[in-house]
Protein backbone atom coordinates (compact mmCIF):
# COMPACT_ATOMS: atom_id res chain seq x y z
CA UNK A 1 0.00 0.00 0.00
CA UNK A 2 2.79 2.46 0.85
CA UNK A 3 4.48 1.60 -2.40
CA UNK A 4 1.22 2.14 -4.31
CA UNK A 5 0.74 5.53 -2.62
CA UNK A 6 4.28 6.52 -3.59
CA UNK A 7 3.68 5.43 -7.17
CA UNK A 8 0.40 7.38 -7.38
CA UNK A 9 2.04 10.45 -5.88
CA UNK A 10 4.82 10.25 -8.47
CA UNK A 11 2.25 9.84 -11.24
CA UNK A 12 0.26 12.81 -9.93
CA UNK A 13 3.33 15.05 -9.86
CA UNK A 14 4.37 13.86 -13.31
CA UNK A 15 0.92 14.52 -14.81
CA UNK A 16 0.54 17.85 -13.03
CA UNK A 17 3.86 19.49 -13.84
CA UNK A 18 6.20 18.20 -16.56
CA UNK A 19 3.70 16.44 -18.82
CA UNK A 20 1.38 19.44 -19.50
CA UNK A 21 4.41 21.65 -19.96
CA UNK A 22 5.82 19.40 -22.66
CA UNK A 23 2.54 18.41 -24.24
CA UNK A 24 1.00 21.85 -24.71
CA UNK A 25 3.54 22.63 -27.42
CA UNK A 26 3.77 19.13 -28.96
CA UNK A 27 3.49 19.60 -32.70
CA UNK A 28 1.38 16.49 -33.32
CA UNK A 29 -1.67 18.30 -31.93
CA UNK A 30 -2.02 20.21 -35.18
CA UNK A 31 -1.91 16.98 -37.18
CA UNK A 32 -4.51 15.11 -35.17
CA UNK A 33 -6.36 17.41 -32.78
CA UNK A 34 -8.81 14.78 -31.64
CA UNK A 35 -6.07 12.33 -30.66
CA UNK A 36 -4.48 15.17 -28.65
CA UNK A 37 -7.89 15.88 -27.12
CA UNK A 38 -8.27 12.25 -26.00
CA UNK A 39 -4.81 12.38 -24.45
CA UNK A 40 -5.54 15.61 -22.55
CA UNK A 41 -8.78 14.28 -21.14
CA UNK A 42 -6.97 11.12 -20.02
CA UNK A 43 -4.23 13.19 -18.39
CA UNK A 44 -6.74 15.29 -16.47
CA UNK A 45 -8.69 12.26 -15.25
CA UNK A 46 -5.63 10.17 -14.40
CA UNK A 47 -3.94 13.18 -12.79
CA UNK A 48 -6.94 13.94 -10.61
CA UNK A 49 -7.41 10.29 -9.69
CA UNK A 50 -3.78 9.80 -8.63
CA UNK A 51 -3.61 13.15 -6.84
CA UNK A 52 -6.64 12.27 -4.71
CA UNK A 53 -5.78 8.57 -4.57
CA UNK A 54 -2.20 8.88 -3.31
CA UNK A 55 -2.93 10.44 0.12
CA UNK A 56 -6.03 8.28 0.63
CA UNK A 57 -4.11 5.09 -0.13
CA UNK A 58 -1.33 6.15 2.23
CA UNK A 59 -3.80 7.09 4.95
CA UNK A 60 -5.56 3.73 4.71
CA UNK A 61 -2.38 1.66 4.42
CA UNK A 62 -2.44 0.45 8.07
CA UNK A 63 -5.90 -1.05 7.56
CA UNK A 64 -5.23 -3.60 4.84
CA UNK A 65 -3.26 -4.70 1.81
CA UNK A 66 -5.60 -3.42 -0.87
CA UNK A 67 -7.68 -0.29 -1.09
CA UNK A 68 -11.15 -1.94 -1.10
CA UNK A 69 -10.15 -4.19 1.80
CA UNK A 70 -8.51 -1.38 3.79
CA UNK A 71 -11.49 0.87 3.21
CA UNK A 72 -14.06 -1.64 4.42
CA UNK A 73 -12.01 -2.64 7.48
CA UNK A 74 -11.38 1.02 8.39
CA UNK A 75 -15.10 1.76 8.20
CA UNK A 76 -16.00 -1.36 10.17
CA UNK A 77 -13.47 -0.71 12.92
CA UNK A 78 -14.57 2.90 13.23
CA UNK A 79 -18.26 2.06 13.35
CA UNK A 80 -17.84 -0.77 15.85
CA UNK A 81 -15.63 1.47 18.03
CA UNK A 82 -13.17 -1.39 18.34
CA UNK A 83 -10.42 0.71 19.93
CA UNK A 84 -8.37 -2.31 20.96
CA UNK A 85 -7.84 -3.49 17.39
CA UNK A 86 -7.44 0.10 16.21
CA UNK A 87 -4.63 0.59 18.71
CA UNK A 88 -2.74 -2.43 17.42
CA UNK A 89 -2.77 -1.09 13.85
CA UNK A 90 -0.12 1.57 14.45
CA UNK A 91 -2.09 4.36 12.88
CA UNK A 92 0.25 7.32 12.82
CA UNK A 93 -1.15 10.91 12.87
CA UNK A 94 0.39 11.24 9.42
CA UNK A 95 -2.02 8.58 8.16
CA UNK A 96 -4.97 10.51 9.48
CA UNK A 97 -3.62 13.75 8.07
CA UNK A 98 -3.11 12.15 4.62
CA UNK A 99 -6.58 10.64 4.66
CA UNK A 100 -8.14 14.02 5.47
CA UNK A 101 -6.03 15.70 2.80
CA UNK A 102 -7.15 13.19 0.17
CA UNK A 103 -10.82 13.47 1.10
CA UNK A 104 -10.62 17.26 1.18
CA UNK A 105 -8.88 17.40 -2.20
CA UNK A 106 -11.39 15.02 -3.79
CA UNK A 107 -14.34 16.90 -2.35
CA UNK A 108 -12.86 20.22 -3.39
CA UNK A 109 -12.40 19.04 -6.99
CA UNK A 110 -15.90 17.59 -7.25
CA UNK A 111 -17.52 20.61 -5.62
CA UNK A 112 -15.67 23.03 -7.89
CA UNK A 113 -16.73 21.00 -10.90
CA UNK A 114 -20.37 21.08 -9.77
CA UNK A 115 -20.23 24.78 -8.93
CA UNK A 116 -18.66 25.63 -12.28
CA UNK A 117 -21.26 23.53 -14.06
CA UNK A 118 -24.22 25.24 -12.41
CA UNK A 119 -22.72 28.70 -12.69
CA UNK A 120 -22.05 28.22 -16.38
CA UNK A 121 -25.52 26.79 -16.90
CA UNK A 122 -27.08 29.83 -15.21
CA UNK A 123 -24.95 32.25 -17.22
CA UNK A 124 -25.95 30.49 -20.43
CA UNK A 125 -29.64 30.62 -19.55
CA UNK A 126 -29.42 34.36 -18.83
CA UNK A 127 -27.51 34.94 -22.02
CA UNK A 128 -29.98 32.86 -23.99
CA UNK A 129 -32.86 34.99 -22.72
CA UNK A 130 -31.14 38.10 -24.04
CA UNK A 131 -30.43 36.43 -27.37
CA UNK A 132 -34.08 35.44 -27.67
CA UNK A 133 -35.26 38.98 -26.99
CA UNK A 134 -32.64 40.92 -28.93
CA UNK A 135 -31.78 38.94 -32.03
CA UNK A 136 -33.49 38.19 -35.30
CA UNK A 137 -33.11 34.89 -37.16
CA UNK A 138 -30.69 34.91 -40.07
CA UNK A 139 -32.70 34.50 -43.28
CA UNK A 140 -31.88 31.70 -45.75
CA UNK A 141 -29.43 29.81 -43.54
CA UNK A 142 -27.52 26.90 -44.97
CA UNK A 143 -29.34 24.28 -42.91
CA UNK A 144 -32.04 24.25 -40.28
CA UNK A 145 -29.68 25.07 -37.40
CA UNK A 146 -30.65 28.10 -35.32
CA UNK A 147 -28.61 31.12 -36.41
CA UNK A 148 -29.41 34.54 -34.94
CA UNK A 149 -28.22 38.07 -35.70
CA UNK A 150 -27.66 40.79 -33.11
CA UNK A 151 -27.50 44.44 -34.08
CA UNK A 152 -23.96 45.55 -33.30
CA UNK A 153 -21.13 46.74 -35.49
CA UNK A 154 -18.35 44.67 -33.83
CA UNK A 155 -17.59 41.73 -36.14
CA UNK A 156 -18.41 38.80 -33.92
CA UNK A 157 -19.51 35.18 -34.05
CA UNK A 158 -20.04 32.75 -31.22
CA UNK A 159 -22.19 29.85 -30.23
CA UNK A 160 -24.28 29.24 -27.18
CA UNK A 161 -24.63 25.56 -26.30
CA UNK A 162 -28.03 24.37 -25.15
CA UNK A 163 -29.13 21.15 -23.53
CA UNK A 164 -29.56 19.57 -26.94
CA UNK A 165 -28.27 20.45 -30.38
CA UNK A 166 -31.72 21.76 -31.28
CA UNK A 167 -31.71 24.25 -28.42
CA UNK A 168 -28.20 25.51 -29.21
CA UNK A 169 -27.78 28.72 -31.12
CA UNK A 170 -25.13 30.39 -33.28
CA UNK A 171 -25.00 34.17 -32.93
CA UNK A 172 -23.57 36.53 -35.55
CA UNK A 173 -23.30 40.29 -35.30
CA UNK A 174 -24.53 42.71 -37.95
CA UNK A 175 -20.92 43.93 -38.21
CA UNK A 176 -19.81 40.44 -39.22
CA UNK A 177 -22.57 40.12 -41.83
CA UNK A 178 -21.46 43.43 -43.32
CA UNK A 179 -17.78 42.45 -43.33
CA UNK A 180 -17.83 38.92 -44.73
CA UNK A 181 -18.83 37.49 -48.08
CA UNK A 182 -21.42 34.71 -48.31
CA UNK A 183 -18.91 31.80 -48.42
CA UNK A 184 -16.84 33.33 -45.61
CA UNK A 185 -19.97 33.60 -43.50
CA UNK A 186 -20.78 30.00 -44.34
CA UNK A 187 -17.36 28.95 -43.07
CA UNK A 188 -17.91 30.82 -39.80
CA UNK A 189 -21.30 29.21 -39.26
CA UNK A 190 -19.90 25.77 -40.11
CA UNK A 191 -17.12 26.36 -37.56
CA UNK A 192 -19.58 27.30 -34.81
CA UNK A 193 -21.89 24.43 -35.62
CA UNK A 194 -19.02 21.98 -35.31
CA UNK A 195 -18.43 23.35 -31.78
CA UNK A 196 -22.08 22.67 -30.99
CA UNK A 197 -22.40 19.33 -32.74
CA UNK A 198 -19.28 17.91 -31.10
CA UNK A 199 -20.34 19.41 -27.73
CA UNK A 200 -16.98 21.08 -27.18
CA UNK A 201 -18.27 22.94 -24.13
CA UNK A 202 -18.35 19.64 -22.25
CA UNK A 203 -14.73 18.88 -23.17
CA UNK A 204 -13.51 22.22 -21.85
CA UNK A 205 -15.71 22.32 -18.73
CA UNK A 206 -13.59 19.97 -16.60
CA UNK A 207 -10.43 21.86 -17.47
CA UNK A 208 -12.05 25.15 -16.58
CA UNK A 209 -13.14 23.71 -13.22
CA UNK A 210 -9.76 22.06 -12.64
CA UNK A 211 -8.08 25.39 -13.29
CA UNK A 212 -10.41 27.14 -10.87
CA UNK A 213 -9.98 24.49 -8.19
CA UNK A 214 -6.18 24.61 -8.17
CA UNK A 215 -5.19 28.01 -9.54
CA UNK A 216 -1.81 27.87 -7.79
CA UNK A 217 -0.74 24.98 -10.00
CA UNK A 218 0.87 26.84 -12.91
CA UNK A 219 0.58 23.96 -15.32
CA UNK A 220 -3.19 23.89 -15.02
CA UNK A 221 -3.32 26.83 -17.38
CA UNK A 222 -1.51 24.80 -20.05
CA UNK A 223 -4.20 22.16 -20.01
CA UNK A 224 -7.06 24.63 -20.20
CA UNK A 225 -5.48 26.67 -22.98
CA UNK A 226 -4.45 23.57 -24.92
CA UNK A 227 -7.96 22.11 -24.81
CA UNK A 228 -9.49 25.44 -25.89
CA UNK A 229 -7.06 25.57 -28.81
CA UNK A 230 -7.88 21.99 -29.76
CA UNK A 231 -11.62 22.73 -29.85
CA UNK A 232 -10.88 25.58 -32.26
CA UNK A 233 -8.81 23.24 -34.45
CA UNK A 234 -11.56 20.63 -34.44
CA UNK A 235 -14.16 23.27 -35.34
CA UNK A 236 -11.89 24.51 -38.14
CA UNK A 237 -11.70 20.95 -39.45
CA UNK A 238 -15.49 20.84 -39.43
CA UNK A 239 -15.62 24.01 -41.52
CA UNK A 240 -12.93 22.67 -43.88
CA UNK A 241 -15.13 19.76 -44.96
CA UNK A 242 -17.21 22.30 -46.90
CA UNK A 243 -15.01 25.37 -47.32
CA UNK A 244 -11.43 26.01 -48.44
CA UNK A 245 -8.69 26.97 -45.97
CA UNK A 246 -8.43 30.34 -47.75
CA UNK A 247 -12.08 31.13 -47.12
CA UNK A 248 -11.77 30.18 -43.46
CA UNK A 249 -8.55 32.17 -43.04
CA UNK A 250 -10.06 35.19 -44.70
CA UNK A 251 -13.09 35.11 -42.43
CA UNK A 252 -10.82 34.70 -39.38
CA UNK A 253 -8.66 37.63 -40.43
CA UNK A 254 -11.64 39.88 -40.95
CA UNK A 255 -13.73 38.87 -37.96
CA UNK A 256 -10.80 39.17 -35.55
CA UNK A 257 -10.47 42.84 -36.35
CA UNK A 258 -11.66 44.77 -33.32
CA UNK A 259 -11.60 47.80 -35.58
CA UNK A 260 -12.50 47.62 -39.27
CA UNK A 261 -9.41 46.74 -41.35
CA UNK A 262 -9.66 49.91 -43.43
CA UNK A 263 -9.48 52.07 -40.33
CA UNK A 264 -5.69 51.83 -39.99
CA UNK A 265 -4.62 55.14 -38.53
CA UNK A 266 -1.99 57.17 -40.42
CA UNK A 267 0.51 56.39 -37.66
CA UNK A 268 0.35 52.64 -38.16
CA UNK A 269 0.14 52.63 -41.93
CA UNK A 270 3.81 53.40 -42.77
CA UNK A 271 4.97 50.73 -40.33
CA UNK A 272 2.92 48.13 -42.11
CA UNK A 273 4.35 49.14 -45.47
CA UNK A 274 7.91 48.84 -44.22
CA UNK A 275 7.51 45.14 -43.56
CA UNK A 276 9.55 43.00 -45.87
CA UNK A 277 7.21 40.73 -47.82
CA UNK A 278 7.33 37.21 -46.47
CA UNK A 279 8.31 38.13 -42.94
CA UNK A 280 4.68 38.42 -41.94
CA UNK A 281 4.54 34.63 -41.87
CA UNK A 282 6.80 34.60 -38.85
CA UNK A 283 4.34 36.77 -36.96
CA UNK A 284 1.84 33.95 -37.03
CA UNK A 285 2.94 31.70 -34.21
CA UNK A 286 -0.40 30.16 -33.29
CA UNK A 287 -0.55 26.49 -34.21
CA UNK A 288 -4.17 26.87 -35.22
CA UNK A 289 -3.37 29.37 -37.99
CA UNK A 290 -0.15 27.59 -38.97
CA UNK A 291 -2.01 24.42 -39.80
CA UNK A 292 -4.47 26.35 -41.96
CA UNK A 293 -1.74 28.26 -43.78
CA UNK A 294 0.56 25.30 -44.32
CA UNK A 295 -1.36 22.08 -43.68
CA UNK A 296 0.77 19.15 -42.57
CA UNK A 297 0.14 15.50 -43.27
CA UNK A 298 -2.42 14.14 -40.75
CA UNK A 299 -0.97 11.84 -38.14
CA UNK A 300 -0.57 8.25 -39.36
CA UNK A 301 -3.05 5.57 -38.27
CA UNK A 302 -0.43 3.80 -36.20
CA UNK A 303 0.57 6.99 -34.39
CA UNK A 304 -3.07 7.86 -33.64
CA UNK A 305 -3.59 4.32 -32.35
CA UNK A 306 -0.50 4.76 -30.18
CA UNK A 307 -1.80 8.00 -28.67
CA UNK A 308 -5.23 6.52 -27.98
CA UNK A 309 -3.74 3.35 -26.49
CA UNK A 310 -1.43 5.49 -24.37
CA UNK A 311 -4.39 7.50 -23.12
CA UNK A 312 -6.31 4.33 -22.27
CA UNK A 313 -3.30 2.95 -20.40
CA UNK A 314 -2.90 6.24 -18.55
CA UNK A 315 -6.45 5.90 -17.27
CA UNK A 316 -6.34 2.17 -16.67
CA UNK A 317 -3.15 2.18 -14.58
CA UNK A 318 -4.27 4.31 -11.60
CA UNK A 319 -7.84 2.94 -11.74
CA UNK A 320 -6.62 -0.64 -11.86
CA UNK A 321 -4.09 -0.14 -9.10
CA UNK A 322 -6.66 1.50 -6.84
CA UNK A 323 -9.28 -1.20 -7.31
CA UNK A 324 -7.33 -4.38 -7.82
CA UNK A 325 -3.92 -4.31 -6.20
Amino acid sequence: MEFLALFLAALAVLLAIPVPKILHTASFRGRSPWAAMVLWQAIALAGGLSMVGAPIVYGLSPFGDSLPHALSSAVQLTLSEDYETLGQLEVHPWHIFALCLGLFLGGHLLLTLARTYFRVLGARRRHRQLVDLLSTPLPNTVDDADTQVIEHETPLAYCLPGRTNASSVTVLSRGLLNTLSQPELGAVVAHEQTHLRQRHHLLTMAFEAWYRALPWLPTNRYGRDAVLELTEMLADDGALTRYSPETLLRSLALSSAQTPPHDDGPASAPQLDNDVPGTSNTLITGARLQRLLAPKEPLGKLAVLGVVAGSAALLAVPTGLLLLS
Binding site: L130, D132, L133, I150, E151, A157, H201, L249, S256, T285
Partner: protein, 112 residues
Protein backbone atom coordinates in the same frame (compact mmCIF):
# COMPACT_ATOMS: atom_id res chain seq x y z
CA UNK B 1 -51.42 32.20 -32.24
CA UNK B 2 -47.89 33.44 -31.55
CA UNK B 3 -45.71 31.54 -29.08
CA UNK B 4 -44.86 32.98 -25.65
CA UNK B 5 -41.31 33.67 -26.81
CA UNK B 6 -42.52 35.71 -29.79
CA UNK B 7 -44.99 37.58 -27.59
CA UNK B 8 -42.21 38.43 -25.15
CA UNK B 9 -40.24 39.85 -28.03
CA UNK B 10 -43.05 42.02 -29.31
CA UNK B 11 -43.92 43.27 -25.82
CA UNK B 12 -40.26 44.12 -25.14
CA UNK B 13 -40.00 45.93 -28.49
CA UNK B 14 -43.06 47.94 -27.58
CA UNK B 15 -41.66 48.89 -24.17
CA UNK B 16 -38.24 49.74 -25.63
CA UNK B 17 -39.80 52.02 -28.22
CA UNK B 18 -42.23 53.64 -25.80
CA UNK B 19 -41.20 56.89 -24.15
CA UNK B 20 -43.13 56.27 -20.94
CA UNK B 21 -44.19 53.21 -18.95
CA UNK B 22 -47.23 51.38 -20.29
CA UNK B 23 -50.07 49.60 -18.57
CA UNK B 24 -51.09 46.10 -19.63
CA UNK B 25 -54.16 47.56 -21.32
CA UNK B 26 -52.08 49.98 -23.37
CA UNK B 27 -49.68 47.18 -24.37
CA UNK B 28 -52.66 45.09 -25.38
CA UNK B 29 -54.09 47.88 -27.54
CA UNK B 30 -50.79 48.68 -29.24
CA UNK B 31 -49.98 45.07 -30.11
CA UNK B 32 -51.30 44.11 -33.52
CA UNK B 33 -52.44 40.73 -32.40
CA UNK B 34 -55.85 40.15 -30.93
CA UNK B 35 -54.93 39.22 -27.38
CA UNK B 36 -56.62 38.99 -24.02
CA UNK B 37 -55.28 41.37 -21.35
CA UNK B 38 -54.64 38.36 -19.10
CA UNK B 39 -52.25 36.94 -21.71
CA UNK B 40 -50.37 40.22 -21.83
CA UNK B 41 -50.22 40.24 -18.03
CA UNK B 42 -48.75 36.74 -18.08
CA UNK B 43 -46.10 37.82 -20.59
CA UNK B 44 -45.29 40.93 -18.52
CA UNK B 45 -44.97 38.83 -15.36
CA UNK B 46 -42.56 36.49 -17.14
CA UNK B 47 -40.47 39.41 -18.35
CA UNK B 48 -40.44 40.89 -14.85
CA UNK B 49 -39.18 37.58 -13.47
CA UNK B 50 -36.42 37.56 -16.06
CA UNK B 51 -35.35 41.01 -14.90
CA UNK B 52 -36.20 42.66 -18.21
CA UNK B 53 -39.18 44.71 -17.06
CA UNK B 54 -39.87 46.90 -14.03
CA UNK B 55 -43.37 47.20 -12.61
CA UNK B 56 -44.46 50.54 -11.15
CA UNK B 57 -46.71 49.62 -8.26
CA UNK B 58 -47.49 53.21 -7.22
CA UNK B 59 -50.10 53.73 -9.91
CA UNK B 60 -53.33 51.90 -10.67
CA UNK B 61 -53.33 50.10 -13.00
CA UNK B 62 -49.65 49.07 -12.68
CA UNK B 63 -47.40 50.40 -15.40
CA UNK B 64 -44.45 48.55 -16.92
CA UNK B 65 -41.14 49.87 -18.23
CA UNK B 66 -38.03 48.25 -19.71
CA UNK B 67 -35.21 47.94 -17.16
CA UNK B 68 -32.53 48.89 -19.70
CA UNK B 69 -32.48 49.97 -23.30
CA UNK B 70 -31.98 47.57 -26.19
CA UNK B 71 -28.47 48.94 -26.69
CA UNK B 72 -27.53 48.47 -23.03
CA UNK B 73 -28.60 44.83 -23.16
CA UNK B 74 -26.65 44.30 -26.37
CA UNK B 75 -23.51 45.72 -24.75
CA UNK B 76 -24.09 43.47 -21.72
CA UNK B 77 -24.26 40.46 -24.05
CA UNK B 78 -21.13 41.45 -25.94
CA UNK B 79 -19.19 41.96 -22.73
CA UNK B 80 -19.97 38.40 -21.77
CA UNK B 81 -18.83 37.16 -25.15
CA UNK B 82 -15.70 39.28 -25.39
CA UNK B 83 -14.66 38.24 -21.90
CA UNK B 84 -14.59 41.66 -20.27
CA UNK B 85 -16.64 40.41 -17.32
CA UNK B 86 -15.22 37.92 -14.81
CA UNK B 87 -18.06 35.45 -15.36
CA UNK B 88 -17.13 34.77 -18.95
CA UNK B 89 -16.68 31.03 -18.73
CA UNK B 90 -20.20 30.45 -20.00
CA UNK B 91 -17.83 28.94 -22.58
CA UNK B 92 -19.52 30.57 -25.47
CA UNK B 93 -16.98 29.04 -27.81
CA UNK B 94 -15.81 32.00 -29.79
CA UNK B 95 -14.67 32.24 -33.37
CA UNK B 96 -12.56 35.27 -32.64
CA UNK B 97 -10.37 35.59 -29.59
CA UNK B 98 -8.09 32.68 -30.32
CA UNK B 99 -6.55 34.80 -33.06
CA UNK B 100 -4.70 37.82 -31.74
CA UNK B 101 -5.04 41.21 -33.40
CA UNK B 102 -1.40 41.16 -34.60
CA UNK B 103 -1.84 37.70 -36.09
CA UNK B 104 -5.02 38.79 -37.82
CA UNK B 105 -3.20 41.80 -39.25
CA UNK B 106 -0.42 39.56 -40.54
CA UNK B 107 -3.02 37.23 -41.98
CA UNK B 108 -4.72 40.07 -43.81
CA UNK B 109 -1.41 40.99 -45.44
CA UNK B 110 -0.73 37.43 -46.55
CA UNK B 111 -4.17 37.03 -48.03
CA UNK B 112 -3.93 40.42 -49.69
Amino acid sequence: MASLGELERSVMTLLWDSEHPLSANEVCEQLDEDLAVTTVLTVLARLEKKGMVLRERSSRPHRYAAVASREEHTVEMLNEVLGTVPDREAVLARFIGSVSESEAAALRRILG
